[in-house]
């Protein structure tokens, strides 16, 4: 075996990200790695590439144990990784990008020998039958060309294990073909390839063996020829079944109707969703399915190319955050520090951020009312804080998230778009947030609940809308719904 891990463990804050992972890959093998969001795939990659250190267990390389302590060491022994977010410098030419982090060839000890560098890169390209114009800056290359350029870079040094992390995420089918061809060449050369993807058809087309991760543990390794898609999906999940509804819910009128949304950046391709008063609609999709982007388009934060949004019966011609709030829709962003809170400001100022105009008379803010309203929200959501004037970043993650909710509730929304509302919050806050959303729905609001945690979606929502590849797929009634059903829909072509 080229690479073996033995009882590999990695913990983050007391939680196992990886537990007792036994994994192996042989020379010339294409090995697929699949698993749900958060199953531990990225953690394994980061350990193999020296980004994370391991807590316990061993990594064996070529039959002897190795310690990989930093990315440099990992590259030196022959492991290279190509991420979906490509590591190319846009303004650099092909040759310059390939030589990033490598010593340039020199003439007479100091002058850069461009001709020799170009010749070396071209030699590797010929071997892999890759054709790229090396004089162009990376920004002028197509997405598959960029990936190929990275593969060329990896092959410049002795690369024996190439890790491809979602390499086709942003490629069209035709573009992906180019990549597959090159992967075939690499395999023939004896390079081992660890192929990480959500796309089942690629897994079955390319790989020799498949390892399935589930909740940080290995659910087993199988030979690709021996299994089919359904078997893999059932290995990936504990197959939770949502509880059968004890009360049949009565929904009111449609409060939000989004039709055929496409984002200008092409991430959301054709997505529609409908939520009614009293309903919590779960939106589930794998990484890169466009969940976050869809919500941002509906809300008006991300420019949309196509589609229509109808809010409380009124068609919104040009959605904008300000307009959405005015019309009764709020967005709880996934990126709490980046897009939801102004970290330098106080709890109070964050709470009233989107409603500040309603506190102002002739532009002057009524600070007494502002303070009492904030106090009321602190009380209602039991936010743990020294007081309204504490800087919001000093609060714990869970309490910060409550401030985000406090801000959202200030405008008395009818529709709440919640993107990963329980991400990085403690268990207690998580339960409180679920309860809060249910209370809001019971009071006649419509809630869209996006989570990458399928179990949570099955727990907390009434209906589940599946998204994959920027498109909305099937919509399930969450009544005895199983994780397998949802995942099968995600992986359907």
């Amino acid at each position: 075996m080229l690479l073996q891990t033995k009882k590999l463990c990695k913990q983050f804050g007391g939680m196992y990200a990886l537990k007792d992972i036994d994994f192996e890959i042989a020379e010339g093998e294409i090995h697929g790695l699949v698993g749900e969001n958060g199953a531990g795939k990225s953690t394994l990659i980061k350990i193999l590439t020296g980004v994370y250190s391991l807590d316990s267990g061993e990594v064996w390389w070529n039959g002897s144990p190795v310690r990989i302590e930093n990315p440099r060491q990992s590259r030196d022994i022959g492991i290279n990784v190509i991420h979906q977010d490509r590591n190319l410098i846009p303004a650099f030419s092909g040759v310059e990008n390939v030589y990033l982090g490598m010593d340039y060839e020199k003439k007479a000890g100091f002058a850069v020998d461009w001709a020799k560098m170009k010749a070396r890169v071209e030699a590797v390209m010929r071997e892999l039958k890759v054709e790229i114009d090396l004089s162009l800056p990376a920004s002028a290359l197509s997405p598959p060309q960029r990936t190929l350029l990275e593969i060329v870079r990896a092959m410049m040094t002795e690369c024996r294990l190439l890790i491809l992390d979602e390499p086709t995420a942003s490629l069209t089918d035709k573009e992906a073909e180019m990549l597959f061809e090159t992967i075939g060449k690499l395999k023939a050369r004896g390079t081992a390839i660890l192929y990480v993807t959500h796309r089942m058809d690629e897994i079955f087309r390319l790989t020799d063996r498949i390892t399935v991760f589930k909740n940080g543990q290995s659910a087993g390794t199988v030979r690709t020829a021996d299994v089919d898609k359904d078997a893999i999906i059932s290995m990936m999940t504990d197959n939770w079944v949502s509880e059968t509804l004890t009360v049949s819910r009565k929904y009111g009128e449609v409060l939000l109707d989004a039709e055929h949304i496409a984002s200008r950046d092409g991430i959301v391709k054709d997505a529609s969703l409908t939520v009614r008063a009293g309903e919590i609609l779960g939106v589930f999709g794998l990484g890169g399915s466009g969940r976050t982007e869809l919500l941002e388009c509906i809300y008006g934060y991300r420019p949309a190319e196509k589609g229509s949004v109808t809010l409380c019966g009124r068609q919104i011609a040009h959605p904008s955050p300000g307009g959405s709030i005015k019309n009764g829709m709020v967005l709880i962003c996934e990126d709490r520090r980046g897009k939801a809170l102004v970290g330098s400001l106080s709890v109070k100022q964050n709470t009233v951020l989107s409603t500040i105009d309603s506190y102002a008379r002739f532009g002057v803010v009524n600070e007494r009312k502002e303070l009492s309203d904030t106090r009321e929200k602190i009380e209602a959501l039991s936010i743990k804080t020294e007081g309204p004037n504490q800087t919001v970043l000093q609060l714990s993650g869970g309490n910060q998230q409550k401030v985000v909710f406090a801000k959202a509730l200030m405008s008395r929304p009818k529709v709440l778009l919640c993107d990963e509302p329980t991400q990085a919050v403690d268990v207690k806050t998580r339960a409180e947030i679920h309860k809060l959303l249910r209370r809001l729905a019971d009071a006649g609001s419509a809630v869209v609940f996006v989570s990458s945690d399928l179990k949570e979606v099955l727990e907390a929502t009434d209906n589940v809308q599946v998204m994959a590849g920027g498109r909305t797929k099937e919509r399930f009634v969450n009544d005895g719904l199983t994780a397998e059903q949802v995942l099968a829909c995600c992986y359907a072509n």
Binding site: P321, C333, Q349, I356, G363, V365
Partner: protein
Amino acid sequence: MKQKAGVSELLRAYGTIFAGILIVIVFSVMRPDAFFTMGNLVNITRQISLLVIIALGATLVMSVEEFDLSVGALASLGGVIGAKMAVAGAPIFLCFIAPVVICFAIGFVNGWIVTKFRVLSFITTLAMSTILGGFTFWFTGGATVFQDIPKSFTYVGTKTVLGAPILSIIMLLLTVVFWFVMRHTAFGRKLYAIGGNEAASQVSGINVKKYKNLAFALCASLAALTGVLMASRLGSAHPTGGDGLFLQSYAAAFLGRTVFREGVPNIWGTFVGAAILGVLANGLTILQVPTFMQDLLTGCIIILAVVVQKIGRGDAK
């Protein structure tokens, strides 16, 4: 997490103010006859008035995390427009209002280019500064405007009311107004929110572009006002008369950032910053320290203040 009000904590929060007081004490001890007199103190308020007013504008733009490098050129242009109008016999109040309105529009263009095309404000306003410099030169033929300026145009810049220079009164009024605006109005809150986190402000429904444009426009208006007031004080307007105020205004605003605990641009901070610069210039002149020494000292003090602030916030590596 109650913070202990230790000596070091106090120094960090109010170090700049202490330094300012220290400077005043040193000058007072060295030249009690010339420095610490009512006459000189009043004189200082007049000397810093122009710097304070232009720096208020810079503070507005800094509060949304942008820069306006064209404030100096705007002041020059404002002064020249006002003076030319006065020479042409326009009503005096119009000579003060028109440059402010014109530069409001120019500032809006600055903001529009920055927000619409997402160009760095640094580059946009640098280019605008060059354009305005060229325009002002063409407008004046490169000559100072001084002939036939009516006496009434210079009243605001030279006269006093109850012993207080009108310039000082205007400075104080504007400082109080903009302090109130930044501290107690929805407008000010939004500017600070945008400066704190632009994306979060946008998601919260704040029209980021509009408020940034307004910050640029107000900044330009204040710069133009500074320029006219300068022309009124000197009784003449030089085509590059306001240029020197540009670096000074940012020095004052950066010093001001260090004055209060938040480490964000703030109006009274800027006032204190400008005052420190003014006191230094005044005191060193009285002590007959050569100009080059004054520049050396001023620069060192600014760097010191900013470094101390960074250490205080634990940002230093």
